[in-house]
């Protein structure tokens, strides 16, 4: 008999919805103590706007975006406005039942699996109404954990969350330990290792593409592909082993010659590399892209952020816990979640310690970004000083840095603007290399050839940081540096389009090839690749025992992915990085 555990499946913070999961043999009994079927009692609708719950419940049924009424911040139907903090915490304003303990709902306790019920959650002892909610019932073994489960969707406010936790505790459930839902899923044979991670991705992903990838991985395509590669390696291992084990018999066609196995190894190496390449695309799809707005102070970064976010206002969600001096906003572009970050302006020297701290943070943000827009304000001369901070690019490996002219409205004459762009283009090209087909210069950290090592942030194999060829393809001078105005909105659609193209290119292949999206898989694949690399580089000169051992190691590394050789290291890593309730 497993105890009943509960946890929120959705990340902390304010959100449209929060989903609480309850799992265990008595999960539905617990749910029955805190859930009532039917519409909210009328007395509670007063503090909320009239049509609130109908709209919200529609949203709760699965829509990603908030209802239209949330468009204007002032009148937005946040959970707090539907059910204010005060009303939730103060019993006086809440529905007061006559009995002290509300009896459990037999209807809920006996609910069949895969049934959704609309209603509201209450505190089991006080009977106080917490929020309206939708309950989804799963019956063992057809649930995430393989146990009876209830999923209750409520509004995603801190107050509602806190109340619901209290209600669950009062109803006899216990907070889940770290990774406990996934552990139970494992315990009940619902998941293998690669599936556990795919489920994490499935839930984490907030875009359609990521969902497709996660679904495919869940169906075992990654496993299938890795297994096939491993099988090919095992064939070679066996041949090598034979040569060492039965030297007198490993003669003729059974002998082990390096030249016979090298082509097959090369082939396997290529496939492993392909899987590794898909990681970057997979990561972008899963985690979203980070786009950083940077430039010298007063380049117009904040205005641009506001302008870009304004367009996407309806689907913006703010993330709490941002630092004082960088601002994050989330956008949806090209089917991807994009985190847009505003940064403190960079300049070469400052005596102000606080400013230096802020600049340090900016540099870090840039280094961690996928794309950096470097703003070139139209009210400043075309001058190398404007791009001076970009010269220290050592930490910008693999980051695409794109010049962007801001405040273009200040150059009223087209000719002025065109001239400004051309002069910047020349200067930029002279400094960092040519622009590419995306109408933006894609530079990479330490762009000069041979200066950097190959970096993993490649997309579809088109761009490798450190390659001197980057950005020079098919560009006959017709592309221009992008220009926009946050004030007038000019150039913003083009900017969005360029960004969408770039992101599309960076995630190309993510839709069709198997993607690896977890660090664990990447680690194992890289380990395999390193070993194969060593083999291919030195193979002809290596003695048989080393070749055999390396082949074994390569196969082992792939085995790690599909759990064929499982060290509990992997599990430890998995569970400590696993978010409970997902």
């Amino acid at each position: 008999m497993s105890k009943v555990i509960f946890a929120f499946a959705t990340p902390p913070g304010r959100s449209g919805l929060a989903v609480l999961r309850i799992s265990g043999d008595e999960a539905l009994t617990v749910a029955a103590r805190i859930f009532r079927r039917g519409r909210l009692p009328l007395s509670l609708q007063a503090p909320a706007s009239g049509s609130a719950h109908d709209v919200d419940v529609a949203a709760g049924a699965g829509a990603v975006s908030a209802p239209k009424s949330a468009l204007t911040p002032e009148s937005a139907l946040t959970p707090e406005s539907a059910l204010t903090l005060e009303s939730a915490l103060t019993p006086k304003s809440a529905y007061a039942p006559e009995s002290v303990f509300t009896p459990p709902s037999a209807e809920i306790a006996d609910l069949p699996g895969y049934r959704a019920v609309y209603g509201f959650v209450i505190h089991p002892t006080s009977g106080e109404v917490i929020d309206e909610a939708v309950l989804l019932c799963f019956r063992a073994p057809r649930s995430f954990t393989g146990e009876d489960m209830a999923e209750i969707s409520v509004h995603g406010s801190g107050a509602v969350r806190r109340e619901l936790i209290g209600a669950c505790l009062a109803a006899g459930a216990e907070p889940a330990g770290p990774g406990e839902f996934s552990r139970r899923a494992l315990l009940n044979g619902r998941l293998d290792l690669s599936q556990v991670e795919a489920v994490l991705d499935l839930i984490d992903s907030d875009s359609q593409q990521a969902r497709r990838v996660a679904l495919r991985q869940l169906a075992g395509q990654l496993s299938t592909r890795v297994k096939a590669l491993r099988d090919s390696l095992i064939v070679l291992v066996a041949r090598a082993e034979l040569a060492g084990e039965y030297p007198e018999y490993a003669v003729g066609e059974d002998r082990f010659e390096w030249d016979d196995v090298a082509p097959e190894l090369q082939n396997i190496y290529g496939q492993v590399q392909q899987l590794i390449d898909s990681y970057a695309a997979g990561r972008l799809i899963r985690e979203g892209a980070t786009v950083c707005l940077a430039g010298v102070p007063n380049a117009g970064k904040s205005a641009l952020l506001n302008a870009l976010v304004g367009i996407e206002r309806s689907i913006v969600t703010d993330i709490p816990g941002t630092t004082r001096d960088t601002i994050d906003e989330w956008l949806h572009i090209a089917d991807l979640a994009v985190r847009l970050t505003d940064t403190a302006g960079l300049r070469s020297v400052s005596d102000d310690d606080i400013e230096n701290l802020g600049m340090e943070r900016t540099r870090r943000t840039m280094a961690e970004a996928d794309i950096v827009f470097w703003l070139l304000p139209a009210d400043r001369p075309v001058n190398a000083a404007e791009i001076e901070p970009l010269r220290e690019r050592a930490n910008l490996q693999g980051v695409r840095v794109i010049p962007l002219i801001s405040k273009s409205d200040l150059l009223t004459k087209q000719a002025d603007l065109a001239d400004f762009r051309r002069r910047w283009l020349d200067l930029w090209n002279a400094e960092f290399g040519e622009l590419n087909e995306f109408g933006a210069s894609v530079t990479s950290g330490g762009a000069s050839a041979g200066e950097t090592t190959a970096c993993e942030t490649t997309a579809g194999g088109t761009t490798v940081a450190g390659s001197a060829d980057v950005g020079t393809t098919d560009f006959a001078g017709e592309s221009e540096i992008l220009a926009c105005s946050a004030k007038t909105g000019a150039g913003l659609p083009e900017l969005r389009e360029a960004l969408a193209d770039l992101l599309g290119e960076m995630t190309r292949g993510g839709d069709t090839v198997d993607l690896i999206s977890s660090e664990r898989h990447l680690f194992s694949l890289k380990e395999c690749r390193e070993v194969l690399n060593e083999l291919l580089a030195a193979g002809a000169g290596l003695p048989l025992d080393i070749i055999t051992v390396l082949l074994n190691m390569a196969a082992d590394a792939l085995g790690e992915i599909i759990g064929a050789t499982l060290s509990s290291d992997v599990l430890e890593h998995l569970f400590s990085n696993f978010c409970v309730g997902k």
Binding site: S2, F6, A7, F8, A9, T10, P11, P12, P91, V100, H123, T125, S126, E128, G158, E163, I165, G166, L169, A170, E174, P175, A176, G177, P178, L186, L187, N188, G189, D192, L193, E241, A243, G244, E245, Y246, P247, E248, Y249, A538, G541, P543, L544, D545, I546, T548, V549, N552, M553, G563, A564, L566, S567, S568, D569, L571, F575, C579, V580, G581
Partner: protein
Amino acid sequence: MTEQDALVEKLRGMTGWPADFAATPYGAEPCDIAIVGAGHAGIEAALAVSKLGLRTTLFSLNLDSVGNMPCNPSIGGTAKGQLVREIDALGGAIGRLADAAAIQYRMLNATKGPAVRSPRAQIDRRLYQELAKHLLENTEGVHLRQAEIVAVLSEPVVRKSAADQPAKMPPSGAKTPEMPSSVEARYEVRGVLTRSGAWHPCRKVILATGTFMESRIITGEVSIDSGPDNLFPSHGLAASLAAHGLKLQRFKTGTPVRINARSIDFSRLEIQEGDAEQWTFSFVNEDNPEFCPKPTRDCYLTWTTDETAAIVRANLHRSPMFSGFIRGTGARYCPSIEDKIVRFPDKERHQIFVEPMGLGTEEYYLQGLSSSLPEDVQERLVRTLPGLERAVIQRSGYAIEYECLDPLQLESSLEVTDVRGLYGAGQINGTSGYEEAAGQGLIAGLNAARACRGLEPLVLGRDEAYLGVLIDDLVTRGTAEPYRMMTARAEYRLSLRQDNADRRLTPIGREYGLVNDADWARFVQRRDLLTAELERLRSTRILPSPERDRIFDQAGSTPPQGGISLAEALARPEIGLDELAQLDALIDKSVDATLAVPADASVSVSVDALVKLPSNLPSSQLSQLNPSQLNPSQSNSLQSNSSQSNSLQSNLPLPNLPSHLRRAAVIEIKYAGYIELEQRRIARFKKDERKRLPADINYGAIRGLRIEAQQKLAAVRPRSLGQAGRISGVSPADLAVLSVWLEMWNREQSSEQRTNTVSIPAPGGQNVELSRNSAGKNEAEVTNK
């Protein structure tokens, strides 16, 4: 009631009593440990017991077959050679006996890398038997006795309330209290009974029955109850074991014909000579000027022909293997000639090795022609081989079936889980091979003796020895066919080399009382010499010179720009021992001073010394060794000697450095990178080995484990999570469940002390207080990301 009647009544009441016992039991000589079988396992077991100062009676059906080699007249081979070196490093006898009886040495895979380099030798099997028997007869505490053991008698374990809890380990060296088994056994061994009625009470029994239990040999349609070489089989012992509830399995193996040398046309065979350079199995014989190898004999090679295949095919219906007459499970790696021809029809010909059986015999063994076809077919078959057209068979080939234990019933100590005090070693544990048997014998003997002394067993890790891999495989995965040691079974084979077996294991053997003072002193000397040589190779730099660069050029290696250390040079694949010698020759000879390594560095031990007691050095040798150096705790006196001298002339090649040590140093340097890589893998491996599983887990109660896994885990009772992961039938998912369970179990153990305060908010809706599982988290957020 007479004393004898009382004894009979007592014995009849014990578990394992033979139903149809004819003799009248009488009380015979008691001992600490009875060993059943004086083959390669029994020999090592007896010697190990003796070294721990206990008394053993070693039973054999026939004293003229002590240490018999009923199959190949050879010792060693791939992975097996490594085992021999390991046993030798642990003070065992097989390597020394093999050296004393070897008539051809061949280092297999000599050019394929040190990890697969494996020593192998042809053995004069009669000489080997004589030496083995003589050694046992001269070993203090060993009583060699010809008798057939028909029963192991035991009594059910009386569970005392206190005994239900595993007792604390007694202080090491304590004599009386026995080591409690981690799992409560059902029976406890009391003694063994011979067919003639001798009751030998003892504290432990080691079964080393080889292929003799209920054995049957089959040639064609003819089957007789017999052990190998027409020796008597053992009847009844298997039933006695079954009466203990032990699970037996029936394995099959086979052997080829032996033919007379005078009927062989050697001119038509391909000759296979032994190695030109003399090496030895035993570390103690290495560079021992007194070691005197026997005269050598050549081996020969021939091939099967189309005619051979035709005869096999035409007579398949008469083969017991294909008619279903043989029930036992054979080994895939040791197929009979009929197997080979049926399973690989496209292979035109199969190799057959013609190997001498000894110096004092004309018998030759035909390796690769193992067969259980009828005798008349064998006669015709042999004569289809080129060179053997007129072959005269002296012994027919046959298949042999025998009973053995399912090794899953054993602990890692080789003790039978259910019967305390009963150990298995060798083929009874499902293995095949003299070397595999010898290794288990040594471990079983040591552990049985240690158990008598109340000491923990020696369990070698998979990262420490092939012997560790072997036993771990047996007790963890069991075996569905006779188990042969293979290089491929060792995950960490770069570290488990034959050349470093002493460095891996001799310190362990010394610690466990298996290595005598003289051998230990020799080991310390070897180790220190190697350390000095490694230090020299690392610190000696060779500056550029035309002579130096010529050496590199000739080796096909780009001459280095500046100076290069010898170690750096050796790290290049093109630079080997020869080049090292040339580079060494460049070093100024004018200061050639001899290091303080005595020319007679190796303390000589003749084969005779084998029969001496471990600590009983001949006086001539004692005079060469300062007694203080014999004490392991002061052994670094030798080390400081050599390193001191080394520091004086560190760049000079060490004179008298034995070639095997020079080679070992080169291996250490050339393989350093790969060995380091392997050490990292070993560190990872050990992490799970260290996660000990409680002995009393009720696997049936762990939800999520598949039934098969529950059964397998309950049967094996793995010591660690790592071992659990190696059990066949335990999937990665099962292991995940188990590791989750272990984590939860550990957490429960530790949280039992912790108070679980979860205060429920009052109806007024005050703050929720979550002190359980919420450390460091926002009280309102239980998602704990």
